[in-house]
Structures are given as structure tokens and as C-alpha cells.
Amino acid sequence: MCKVLIPALLRSQTEGKAEVEAEGTTVGEVIRHLDVRFPGLAERLLQDQRLRPGLGVAVDGEISHRGLREPVRPTSEVIFIAAVSGG
């Protein structure tokens, strides 16, 4: 079971929980798994089978560039974050 931190605006989907546990070997699987427990969560995170534009994901403290394909281990921490760019 990995740990997933839920963004504040999505906590209405997770009964107010800021942190939940989930299963899966990739970020995509983790989201699918969570969506079973919290129906509608995936819809808030995904668009056209990808993370929504402007949304990023970090696994174990590193912002991923693989999105849903990013591998997740049972000890991992998954954080959904706003994607930010520089100048």
C-alpha cells in the first residue's frame, strides 16, 4: 500500500481525508484503485487518459515526467501537484 496525499480541493471526494492509502504499481493504477473507493476522484484528476493539463505528480519527492506511467512502490508517497513552469 502506498501513501497518496490528496490535494485540498479534492478532499471533498475522499471524505475530507488529506492522506489515503492505495494499491498499484504505477500512478495510473493507483488512481484507478482510489476511484473504486472514492468514485469520481479519477474524473477530477484525469482528462483523455492523461493527468489533467496543469496537474503534475510526484513520487517519492521527485516530480515525474512519465505521468500515469510513473512506477510506484508499496512504500512510495504519491503527491498530486500543480505543474509549474519557469521563465
Binding site: G54, E62, A83, G86, G87
Partner: protein, 762 residues
């Protein structure tokens, strides 16, 4: 793609020969002799001059555009309007500057139904001379139905505010409101219990702030030349931070395959984030095609640069922070309203991360709102979004420190984030050098020297920036004389040819002078992200390092074959190769291995571990009580650079970022009238710092190696623009007792605040 990993403990090779030195940049001679070619210097046989017709109104419906009189003008070769653009794709893509809606990008190039800001492009022409082009613009008739302009976030959020985009509905992380609005999106970071936190506070400061729209202010106006050949092949010469970003944007808005487009970078006269989005390139392509496949050059005037490109968001901010009696922060709350300009996409997301990133606090909430207004579409500007919010947060932190009678550096040390602590969005920080920077400032000669004199004060502030990695590609060609031709695609805005060549030389163990860097076009180097996000010396530096390793490995393999020994038996020392009693230096080795076959290696990297940047700054100011003018007497910057590859250019980034921050803090602002017309579209009235507005800017480079890079490098370019406004606001407060809550802190504003404090009524 190679798998990249630095030594896990972040240790850096003990003896660096090249990294850390200060050689002359490879392109230096061309740039001091006037030979370097920038965007407007490109000329081609038969080149036509293009011009753009821009909206005089801030907000209006376009009823009709009549170009018939212009088309009849002798010498006029082409006219294009939005009708010549393919239908705008309704898609969101990341084309170099974060996710952008292609509809908006297209609409910003040439207005379709509405103009949304003073300066919004409506039509473009190409002619054989500039005079004819300008005459043609005057002959284009545009019929408008004026609409009331919406100029600020607060005006845009009023319930009865006119809407810029009828279909825009607030997105709250994947959920859209039912009613249309000028608020494009909301985001929130939250942890802990805010109410509990504030209840525990001994002191709470709650303030509102306003910052104005400012421009990147690069000295070279946008300039692009395009030539469409009759077979459909397109070449674009342009001054840009990212050739591949230009290629993909042009391809998307014109509906063309990327394979038809070659983008050739010219030298670039400053960008600071403002030369990522395309403005001219697609127009030049359309004009070239319509003019009969002749090249067309478009160069902006300074007024166009100011009205129609760049700026970064003005903002309304509310910051509320509580601390206990020991100075520990117990609750932090921010509301950030960022003006995106005409289309969604302000940097409020980055601002929300920057906001409280330097501080440890268990109870935190940050709300960010992206608000459209009738100003030019905001684009990136050095650490986008950071300066606004840090001005506000650092002011409040200073006020807390003062009310608790704590030294401002001590206040920050008490609450400083360290490795493993989390940003507002919960991302944990890797190894950082923030505490080291605070300590270095506290021990600096500047900080230890008391400031004396009337109307003088010293301020301190800090800033965090996350940096970026991104994708980089490079190739290295070994020449038989031992030199290495080094092709990259990262455009060089501030000396990156030097810092990259140095890393390749270091990796190969050869002299810097043996590496010949060249910046290639999009057909000669594979994909590369923009020069931006403080990523080039880090990520393209990774590519340089990796190339060196690969080239040396291939040379070793070839020598092993030639010498009939196992490759593992070949040792490397001082750039040379040795096995048993055989020993060749790098040049000899090059000659030998090139005899067999030419040798070229290439690499593509996408490194993580880019490592965050912190900057801590201190300023002494003097405030003239009669005029309100603020003079900066002394300024010191402390920054964690990880490892400064070329310390002179690191210092230059630090000084340049601070100079921009000082301009933002003290003078720069877009001034609009009530009709939404920009009143200060020139460099006389848009007042950037000159040499006599600034003192020498002292720099202290702290080097806490970034474990994510072979030489410990972390990005340095952006973070330094974040602290200056807060630093100066705090210094002004200590000088005068007045706390300014709006930028710029220009003489009239400072004077008004001084008068208000003293009860004087003019």
C-alpha cells in the same frame, strides 16, 4: 536515454579543473565587435518588411475588418487577418511554457471576434519597404463595437463585471462552476488546522497587498523572419528562448506538421521568460506564403513590445500569519489573485508554491485564483509569480519579527525549511542550502556593519524557487586535432555556451579552449526544452557531462582494440589514455581513433533532481522625506548555487535578477487610463533601472552541492528576482516607520505614505 544518477551522497569530484574557473565566453569576441547576429540582424535577398495592426481599444467586439484599400496599395505584397488562420484547435498542450490552450494562443496572435487588450494584433502586412507597410496599416478599416474594459482582478471578480470570455467557467481542480466568470481557475494548498493554529498565535498579522503589471524589459524587441518555399518547407529565423517551443507552437496554430518547419535561432538579446510564446513567427510564415514565397521579417517596435508581449501579472494578495512568543510560525494563510491578462494562465500556481516555501509551519492554507483582465496575456517572467507573493509574505514576516523583537535573520532561521521539510503543496525538499545562506548573510561584513544616518534602514528578505530540469540534447564530434565540436540546442542568453563547454571539458579532462560549442537549429540537434526555468546549466550541463563520458568510453574502446588490450586496462589521467607503458594525450588519442572512423556521440537527457534554489538578500536604503525617492545604498545577495560552474556568470545572474527586482519594487508599472489604454509604452515612461539607480551589488555564492548533478549544479537564474521587493519594503519600513503595501514603491507612493503617517495634508 541513459539512466542518470549522481553519487548518492552528493559528493563532488575532488579536483575540478575547469568547473569553477572564469574563462572568456566562446561567443564573446563576436558580441563585443558587433558581429553577433540577433533577431533583427537577419537579412535575405528579396526580404520584405512586415508590420502588425494593433487594437487601439482594450475591449471590443470586431464587427468588420476591411483590408481592400490596403490590398490595392502598390508595393504591398500581403495582408493577413484571423480569417487566414486555420480554425483554432480546442486543445491544451504543453508547448514550452506550461500547459496552454491552443485556442487562446491562436486568438492572441490575431484577434478573431473580440480584441481583449490595447495592442491586441488584428492584421499583419508585408511590403517592399517599411513606409509602404505602414501606409497599408493606415488603410485597414476596423469597425469595433466597444465594450467596457476590466482592468484589475478586483474589478473582474465583481458579480456584474463584463465577461472577457463568454464560455469561461471557474475550474476548481477538475470541477467547473455552472456560471461563467472572469476567474479561470482556483487552486488550494492546505495542511493542518488553520483555526487551531491561529488560536495558538501570540501575534497575528493580516495585511492586503497590491502589485502592478511589469514587463521583462529585454532590450532586444521581438524579431522574426520566415521564408516559406513553394514546396511548403518553412524556415524561421528568430530570437527565442526555445527553438523547439517555436516549432511546436507554429505547427499547432498553423496546422502544419513539425517536419515542415525548421527554426534557426539567432542570438537573443534577453528573454527572461518573455521569448517563449510566439507572437511574430506564425504571422511571418503566413505573410511569406501570401506574398508569394518570399522571406518576410517582422520586428516589433518598443511600444509593441510593451503593449503586446510579455508582461507578468499584477496581483491582489492577502497574507495572514501567526507566530507564538518564541517566533515560531503557527499558522499561515494566503489568498492570491493574479491577473492573467486577456487569457487564462497567470503564474499563480508557482506563486502558491513559492509563498510559504521557506517556512516550516504545520497549519497552512494557500488559495490561488487566475483572473482574466483586459491586459496583454501574461507570459513567464523570471521565477514567474514569485516576486509578487514574496513581497507580501516577506513584509508580514518582517512585521512579525519586529513585533516579537527578533532579528529578521533569526526569525527566518527559527522557521527555516531544511531537507525533508515540505513546500505548501507538500512536495518534500531535497538537499538545500537555505540555512547556510541565512548564516552566510548573518556573518557577512555588510550585515555586521551597523547602518547609521537619518532616513536610512536595512531590510532582509528571502526567496525560494523550485527550478526545473526538462529535456536536453547535444552532440559531440571529435576532431583529429583533439578539439571537440559541441552542438547544443539551448539558446545562449547569458553565457551558457561557456558553462556548458566547461562541463564537457571537465567531463573529458581536456581544456576549455578545446571545446567548440555551437547552437544548432531544430533540424540539426534533437529535441530540447527552452532556455528557461533555470535549467540550462543544470540539464544541458548534464548532457555535456554525459557526452564527455560517452566520448571517452568510445575512445577507450577504440584504443583498446588498436592496442589489443582489454578496455578496462586503459586508465585515464589528465585527459590522456594509458595502458601498461603505452600513453597518449588526448590530442594523440583523437588522431589515432579518428584514423579508424569519424567519431561522433550524442545524448538526450531528462534529468530529475534539479534541486531547489534559495536566495537571501539584504539592502540598505535612504528615503528622501521631501520627494519620497528611495536610494539603494548597499545590496548583498547570498545564494546557494550548488556549484558555480562559471562564477562570473553566476554573479551576473544574481546581480541581474536583483536589478530587475529593484526596478519592479521601486519604479516599474503599467499605467492604464480608465479606457484601458496603456499610457507608458516607452522606455522613458516605463522606467527600468539605469546604472545610476543602482549601487554595486555584492554577491556571496554558497555552494551546497545538488546531489542530482555530477558537479553539484543547481539552477541559479531565476530565484534572485524574488526577494528584492520584500527586501526593499522592509528596508523602507526601518528607514521611515512606514510599511508600503503596494508596488511599485515609487516616489509618489512613498511620499503619500509618509504624509499619511505624519498627518500632513498637501
Amino acid at each position: 536515454m541513459p539512466s542518470l544518477s549522481a553519487s548518492p551522497d552528493g559528493s563532488v569530484a575532488p579536483a575540478l579543473r575547469v568547473v569553477g574557473t572564469r574563462p572568456v565566453r566562446p561567443d564573446g569576441i563576436d558580441k563585443v565587435t558587433g558581429r553577433a547576429l540577433y533577431g533583427a540582424d537577419i537579412t535575405l535577398p528579396g526580404l520584405l518588411t512586415g508590420r502588425v495592426l494593433r487594437s487601439p481599444l482594450a475591449h471590443a467586439r470586431i464587427v468588420r475588418v476591411d483590408t481592400s484599400a490596403a490590398r490595392a496599395l502598390p508595393g504591398l505584397k500581403a495582408v493577413v487577418t484571423a480569417a487566414d488562420l486555420p480554425p483554432a484547435p480546442d486543445r491544451i498542450e504543453d508547448l514550452g511554457e506550461g500547459a496552454i490552450d491552443l485556442r487562446y494562443l491562436s486568438d492572441n496572435l490575431l484577434a478573431r471576434e473580440k480584441v481583449l487588450y490595447h495592442g491586441h494584433a488584428i492584421a499583419a502586412v508585408a511590403a517592399s519597404t517599411p513606409e509602404i507597410a505602414e501606409q497599408a496599416l493606415a488603410l485597414i478599416r476596423v469597425e469595433f463595437e466597444p465594450l467596457p474594459p476590466v482592468m484589475t482582478a478586483s474589478a473582474a471578480m465583481k458579480p456584474d463585471a463584463p465577461l472577457l470570455h463568454a464560455g469561461l467557467k471557474t475550474d476548481r481542480m477538475g470541477q467547473r462552476d455552472a456560471a461563467p466568470s472572469n476567474v479561470a481557475s482556483q487552486l488550494r494548498h492546505e495542511r493542518g488546522n488553520l483555526d487551531d493554529g491561529f488560536r495558538r498565535a501570540a501575534v497575528v498579522i493580516d495585511r492586503r497587498f497590491r502589485t502592478e503589471t511589469v514587463h521583462q524589459g529585454y532590450i532586444e524587441p521581438q524579431a522574426s523572419t520566415a521564408h516559406v518555399q513553394a514546396d511548403g518547407q518553412i524556415t524561421i529565423w528568430t530570437s527565442t528562448q526555445g527553438t523547439f517551443a517555436v516549432r511546436s507552437q507554429v505547427a499547432e496554430v498553423l496546422g502544419l506538421p513539425v517536419s515542415r518547419i525548421k527554426v534557426v535561432p539567432t542570438e537573443i538579446g534577453g528573454g527572461f521568460g518573455g521569448k517563449i510564446s510566439v507572437y511574430l513567427e506564425p504571422l511571418a510564415v503566413l505573410l511569406s506564403r501570401h506574398a508569394g514565397f518570399v522571406p518576410v521579417r517582422l520586428v516589433m517596435s518598443r511600444t509593441e513590445v510593451l503593449t503586446s508581449t510579455g508582461p507578468t501579472s499584477g496581483s491582489d494578495l492577502r497574507i495572514r500569519i501567526g507566530a507564538d512568543t518564541s517566533g515560531k510560525l503557527v499558522a499561515m494563510q494566503a489568498e492570491l489573485y493574479y491577473e492573467a491578462g486577456a487569457y487564462p494562465g497567470s503564474p499563480v500556481g508557482a506563486a502558491a508554491v513559492v509563498s510559504f516555501a521557506p517556512y516550516v509551519c504545520e497549519a497552512m492554507r494557500v488559495d490561488g485564483y487566475d483572473v482574466v483582465v483586459n491586459r496583454p496575456r501574461a507570459s513567464a517572467y523570471r521565477a514567474p509569480g514569485g516576486t509578487n507573493v514574496a513581497f507580501a509574505v516577506e513584509s508580514v514576516i518582517d512585521e512579525l519579527a519586529e513585533s516579537l523583537d527578533l532579528d529578521p535573520i533569526e526569525m527566518r532561521l527559527i522557521n527555516a525549511v531544511r531537507e525533508g521539510d515540505r513546500r505548501p503543496d507538500n512536495l518534500p525538499l531535497a538537499r538545500i542550502g537555505y540555512v547556510e545562506c541565512l548564516q552566510a548573510l548573518r556573518q557577512s561584513e555588510h550585515y555586521r556593519t551597523p547602518l547609521t544616518g537619518r532616513h536610512r534602514g536595512r531590510g532582509v528578505a528571502c526567496g525560494y524557487w523550485g527550478n526545473w530540469g526538462g529535456q536536453s540534447s547535444a552532440t559531440a564530434i571529435l576532431n583529429p586535432d583533439g578539439s571537440v565540436s559541441f552542438n547544443v540546442a539551448s539558446t545562449d542568453i547569458g553565457g551558457s555556451r561557456a558553462s556548458l563547454a566547461m562541463q564537457l571539458a571537465e567531463s573529458l579532462g581536456i581544456d576549455y579552449a578545446q571545446v567548440k560549442p555551437r547552437i544548432g537549429d531544430t533540424d540539426s540537434v534533437s529535441y530540447n526544452d527552452v532556455t528557461g526555468g533555470s535549467r540550462t546549466t543544470f540539464a544541458t550541463g548534464w548532457a555535456a557531462y554525459d557526452l564527455g563520458q560517452k566520448l571517452a568510453a568510445e575512445m577507450t574502446a577504440r584504443l583498446a582494440q588498436r592496442w589489443e588490450v582489454a578496455p578496462e586496462s586503459i586508465l585515464r589521467a589528465g585527459g590522456g589514455f594509458a595502458s601498461g607503458d603505452r600513453r597518449v594525450d588526448f590530442a594523440e588519442a583523437s588522431k589515432l581513433v579518428c584514423e579508424d572512423a569519424p567519431l561522433m556521440v550524442s545524448t538526450t537527457v531528462h534529468p530529475k533532481g534539479y534541486g531547489a534554489a534559495f536566495s537571501v538578500q539584504c539592502a540598505d536604503v535612504e528615503v528622501d522625506p521631501d520627494t519620497g525617492k528611495v536610494t539603494v545604498l548597499r545590496y548583498t545577495i547570498v545564494q546557494d548555487a550548488g556549484k558555480a560552474v562559471h562564477p562570473s556568470y553566476v554573479e551576473g545572474q544574481m546581480q541581474g535578477g536583483v536589478a530587475q527586482g529593484i526596478g519592479w519594487a521601486l519604479n516599474e508599472e503599467y499605467v492604464y487610463n480608465e479606457k484601458g489604454e496603456l499610457l507608458n509604452g516607452s522606455l522613458l515612461d516605463y522606467r527600468m533601472p539605469t546604472a545610476c539607480d543602482l549601487p554595486m551589488i555584492d554577491t556571496i555564492i554558497v555552494e551546497v552541492p545538488n546531489p542530482g548533478h555530477p558537479y553539484g549544479v543547481r539552477g541559479v537564474g531565476e530565484v534572485n528576482i524574488i526577494p528584492p521587493a520584500g527586501t526593499l519594503a522592509n528596508a523602507i519600513h526601518r528607514a521611515t516607520g512606514v510599511r508600503l503595501t503596494a508596488l511599485p514603491m515609487s516616489p509618489p507612493r512613498v511620499l503619500a505614505a509618509l504624509w499619511e503617517k505624519s498627518g500632513y495634508r498637501p
